[in-house]
Subunit: 306 residues, 2 copies
């Protein structure tokens, strides 16, 4: 019954001048939040902690790295849990020291995206030096196709380390691939400043644009994750917000994956897990009247409701 009502309101308010909140039937000043776990498929530890977060905490959305070794494990979970809000964390880098992956496409077709060892570059800047936008587009499309081939009901796309939005040409490719599969993509209002014909023409469609993306940075981790996330929740502005987090256990596997890199390391991911599965997290969200929203709703009520 509620669903029907919201659908009607959404249909009535389809104008591009109406906010996402209003298009979904919420008051204009509603504080909407997607709590989004990144990097699924990266490691077994990441998969297990993220699944636990999705099933037992306010974490309500996540995205999967298709080129990574543990992709088949999370794909099996996605097939068996059709309603989970799982998108793709489109990946163009392989940033860890001793644990590597490369493209989903055959390497000969995306040679500008790989280093001499056949892996993706470690750094976004290296990709930007050599990666052709045409090959970026080809690889992003290959990742989406492979996810569908594995039976995942993809709810959205986003960009691991921002690599797929690190140049205007890549961003146009990212938006183009999303459009082909009728999927929302994570981007915020900075997209409106991009003077690129491919981007401009896709923006004319009125895609979902997030008002504010929040994510912890190294100084936040140093001060304590509970303090950072509490401040995000207490200070959340009305509109569509997306909070990017990373859930994994501080175990031997994850310590080895993230070796020599404390930022976004195993302890960082465990701290995220600990906060989001704590009773305090749910309590603060309730106190602040924060409405949790998924990419699935955005996909089905906005992107595909045309």
């Amino acid at each position: 019954m509620l669903f029907g009502l919201l659908a009607c309101v959404a249909t009535a308010g389809r104008s591009q001048n109406t906010t996402i909140a209003e298009r979904l039937g919420y008051p204009a000043d509603a504080k909407l939040l997607i709590i989004h776990a990144d990097d699924l498929g990266l490691a077994h530890s990441q998969n297990m902690a993220s699944i636990s977060g999705l099933e037992t905490s306010p974490v309500n959305s996540a995205s999967i790295m298709v080129p990574c070794p543990w992709f088949p494990e999370i794909a099996a979970y996605a097939r068996n849990n059709n309603s989970a809000d799982l998108g793709l964390h489109l990946t163009l880098t392989s940033e860890w020291k001793h644990y590597k992956w490369g493209p989903v496409s055959s390497r000969d077709s995306v040679q500008s995206l790989v280093n001499e060892n056949g892996y993706f570059y470690s750094a976004v800047d290296s990709l930007g030096m050599y990666g052709s936008a045409k090959e970026v587009e080809f690889e992003l499309r290959s990742q989406v196709k492979k996810a569908y081939q594995f039976g995942i009901d993809v709810t959205h796309l986003d960009a691991h380390m921002g690599a797929a939005v690190s140049t205007p040409d890549y961003t146009a490719a990212y938006m183009k691939v999303a459009k082909e599969f009728d999927l929302p993509v994570l981007m915020d209002s900075r997209i409106n400043n991009l003077d690129h014909p491919g981007v401009k023409s896709l923006l004319a469609d009125g895609p979902v644009i997030v008002d504010q993306i929040h994510t912890a940075l190294p100084p936040d981790f140093e001060k304590g994750m509970a303090q950072y996330y509490t401040a995000v929740f207490r200070g959340l502005n009305p509109g569509l917000n997306c909070l990017l987090i990373h859930l994994a256990y501080d175990d031997e596997e994850m310590k080895a994956v993230t070796i020599d890199h404390p930022a976004w390391g195993a302890a960082w991911r465990q701290a995220d897990y600990d906060f989001f599965t704590s009773p305090e997290c749910a309590e603060i969200l309730a106190e602040e009247n924060i409405v949790l929203l998924t990419w699935r709703e955005l996909r089905d009520k906005i992107t595909r409701a045309k």
Copy 2:
């Protein structure tokens, strides 16, 4: 001094009718044994347990799976430990349920070796149905080249799951690649029965041939690994023996890698680790006058001493 003596004896006894033991300067009835850990690079757990085995137990040789996700970790170890006896566990299958890898070569150049998901086949029989020997040879060569590119002083080649020796054509490719890099390959006397011109011509070189390969099978695991390995040591025949083992910890990562497959599973690998690092293992080897030999010795004193 001893080294000089052995080298002289080896030179003197180079005839193909002389045993490996005699060529190395041991009595003809010496019981030579390589204790060889397989599957390095497969997982972090496998790397850590194998390194521990190599450094603290009679395990004296191992081989690395170049296409696997944790290859860069064990390659870094190999670069920092030049005297370790590390060969390549040439890999043409990706047999686990939720954790996958594909070829080192660009996929377009070895299409007959991969399934629709871009990974190696799970089973040796699937490879045998579709895999062209020409592409097997290309991929084996790519794996050796990549190992050298990572700075590994490769001591020998062997075949993961026997895939690279599962047909006469593949076996000829395997021996040909070994010859190109002047490396010994693991094979036993069954090789002499292979009626294949490529194999016959390479056998004419008088390569190292192991007299007996030992490895635990599921009934051995069920009865207890200590019992099996003790029986192998007590009953070891004179000649060149190679014992293939698998060292890993029975931890969350390894349990997930080997899920739904108790044979060669995480508990199996922990049982191997426990036996080989026990005081009993070293004691029985000493009691039986077993001489531990490495592939490095075979490479440098026989294969390359021409």
